[in-house]
């Protein structure tokens, strides 16, 4: 089937853009954007998943207000024939200017939140090192990802009250990834059990932070014994800055968690860059976005990529002021932090997921 994308000079396989290179069900193209103010008042996350071999597109929009109430909206639809539009019901993601500007919209709906935002990139997008993993010869992970730091402008409406998003006062970060991913759809049946030993006793840690004219991205997978399984990161500079990004080659971390929980509270990291320079960042939690509200790792029968019928929506409010609720919805979280580096103050998020035991932090 011809698509609008086929007009462009960017084919990668001998086929139309209706198809990807192989028929693996796990093929996923994913988008995520996180927008927050610098006081911890409001954090918003939105994202999309496109699953060409499942014929599904899904998405979510979530807002945590005052770190007390999190509002969630999840949506899913049949992908074809509108394979070219990143839009599910009232939720959309539109490229205004490639690698620079994105428009994010959640129109009227019954779940209490709506917004119209523009993400404005401030620093060049960072291209991560691809991750490839196999289990008994079969690839279960083969992904490319880019991430970018920027600002946001527009408005967010929560339960009838409108919050202006000022480009000077709010921060934003986003990513875009594609390839073979795990944790998509319902677990397969009638197949040999997967070898999950890789996931036992490890920490997945993803961080983005921006200061006035520089920022840091890194993605770290570290085993409980300190072995680094994967690290991709860079110190990046603003668009107007001529300095090239410098890869991050080592991360030394010291994190603190809320009592009896894997939820992050504060921490310190020392980054070693490829030129030998070290950057020390101290972080303090301002608020948290619980991505389970968007369906990460599954919520209430919904998993990313799962077939929910031609069109489906769901949503709810969570009382996350209650630590019991917060612990229940903790999984993959965007912890919004104030970062300090010497005299500089920056903002960003940290994702920290510990699986199994991790004695360094008492798990």
């Amino acid at each position: 089937m011809l698509t609008k994308f086929d007009e462009f000079h960017c084919h990668q396989i001998v086929d139309t853009f209706d198809h990807v290179v192989d028929s693996d069900r796990q093929w996923t193209e994913k988008f995520w954007c996180n927008v927050h103010d610098t006081t911890g008042k409001l954090v918003l996350a939105t994202g999309f998943g496109v699953y060409p071999n499942r014929n599904v597109m899904d998405g979510y929009g979530c807002v945590n207000l005052d770190n007390k109430t999190q509002y969630n909206v999840r949506l899913s639809r049949e992908l074809r024939p509108q394979i070219e539009e990143l839009k599910v019901g009232p939720l959309s993601w539109e490229v205004v200017e490639g690698l620079r500007k994105i428009r994010l919209t959640l129109g009227d709906n019954e779940y209490g939140i709506s917004y119209e935002l523009e993400f404005v990139g401030r620093m060049p997008a960072h291209e991560e090192i691809p991750q490839v993993r196999r289990d008994k010869g079969r690839i279960f992970m083969n992904t490319c990802r880019m991430a970018q730091l920027g600002r946001a402008k527009g408005w967010v409406k929560v339960d009838g009250k409108t919050y202006d998003v000022d480009e000077n006062l709010w921060r934003a970060q986003r990513d875009h990834s594609w390839g073979i991913r795990m944790g998509v759809g319902a677990p397969e049946t009638g197949v040999q059990s997967p070898d999950i030993s890789f996931f036992a006793n490890l920490m997945i840690n993803w961080l983005t932070v921006q200061f006035e004219n520089w920022g840091v991205h890194y993605y770290l997978i570290e085993k409980a014994d300190g072995t680094v399984e994967y690290l991709s990161g860079a110190v990046v500079y603003g668009f107007e800055d001529d300095r090239e990004a410098i890869p991050v080659v080592a991360v030394d971390h010291d994190f603190e968690y809320h009592p009896n929980s894997g939820r992050m509270k504060s921490g310190r990291v020392v980054l070693t860059a490829a030129d030998g320079s070290k950057t020390e960042l101290a972080m303090r939690q301002l608020t948290t976005m619980y991505l389970m509200g968007g369906g990460y790792i599954g919520y209430n029968g919904f998993y990313h990529g799962i077939w929910m019928g031609p069109y489906w929506t769901a949503g709810e409010k969570w009382d996350i002021a209650n630590p019991e609720v917060a612990n229940k919805v903790h999984g993959l979280d965007d912890t919004v932090c104030e970062y300090r580096c010497g005299d500089e103050v920056g903002y960003g998020i940290i994702e920290n997921l510990i699986l199994g035991s991790f004695p360094k932090y008492g798990f």
């Binding site: 462009f8 000079h9 960017c10 990668q12 290179v21 992904t143």
Partner: protein, 364 residues
Amino acid sequence: MLTKYDEMMCHQIVSTFDRVETSAREWTERLWFSVHDTSGKFHLVTGFGHYPNRNIMDVFACFATEGKTQYAVRASRELRPAIDEVKVGPFSYQVVEALKKVRCALDENEHGLSYEIEFEGNMPPHEEEPQSALSRGRVLENIVRYVQVGKPTGWIKAEGKTYQINKDEWRAERDHSWGIRRGGGVPETGVQPGEIPTGYLFSFGIMQFDKWGATYHIREDWEGRPLHFSSGVFYPYGSHKEELKLASVAHDFQFRPDIRQMKSGQLVFNAVDGSKIEVSMRPLSVCYLRAGGYFGYQGFTHGLWMGPYFIDSLKLDLTDNDAVKGVSFLDDVMCEMRCGNDIGYGIIELVIVGKYPKYGYQGY
């Protein structure tokens, strides 16, 4: 390397749009764009080639006027880092509205040819059946293509003279293809020589009448056995008529005595529902694409590395028979098409190599 295309949600492989699925040198993404009036006086063909595994983008424009002169401008550049711009020197190509409107331009330059043309599709694009061919187990050809008819607006300027293009008296055709193709770069060395067919016919046609249009693409061996067939009859936007699927196309061409170029011809489109459409063709003009680098001409071949930036031009005297013989191979023959009382216009490409007894050819 991230490209502007990576912003879109249309990845097909686990890589950025800097790469394609295979490292085969022959990977080619190609645009072909033809514009002509309906009298046969003016006929321009332009095209871009994009070779991610050669790190090249190239382009040509050929403009034939009044059957007397053909201008050609050819250019080439290093593909990266500007991989996401269809632009080589003064040449550019822009998608205005996907699958409907495109614009191509050749800015003023020292080679005496320039233009600015907007193509507006008047019927939906036709997606061809993919072409594939193997030779000794290796893919020789594996191409996806779509074609579209439309009407152009704009202007062409040659040697200081400007020709206005209007939708009443002009027609346009275009295609866009990608995959593994033959004929790019220079022949490989140190490899087993390629297989030479006894005889082979290639023909492509695309035409538009007021209320319908048609296209076909066929490959046959020397005995007329089909090696590839793709064809469709389509209808204007807004007609809500589905494409008519075709089972076969029968051809009967008559040729010039000196070169294998059609002089006239008849086509019969046999639809899957048993209906037949008969079209007779009368050539009005010819544009010699070889001058634009198809299979190489005067030092320029599609996909050949010409350095970081290259541009040249040439002028052919089409009244000189020897010049025509030297450049004729893949020729865009613009024809008046008749089908009952309908009169239409379009392009026929026809290449016969080696033996093809049906048309009296006994060998190379």
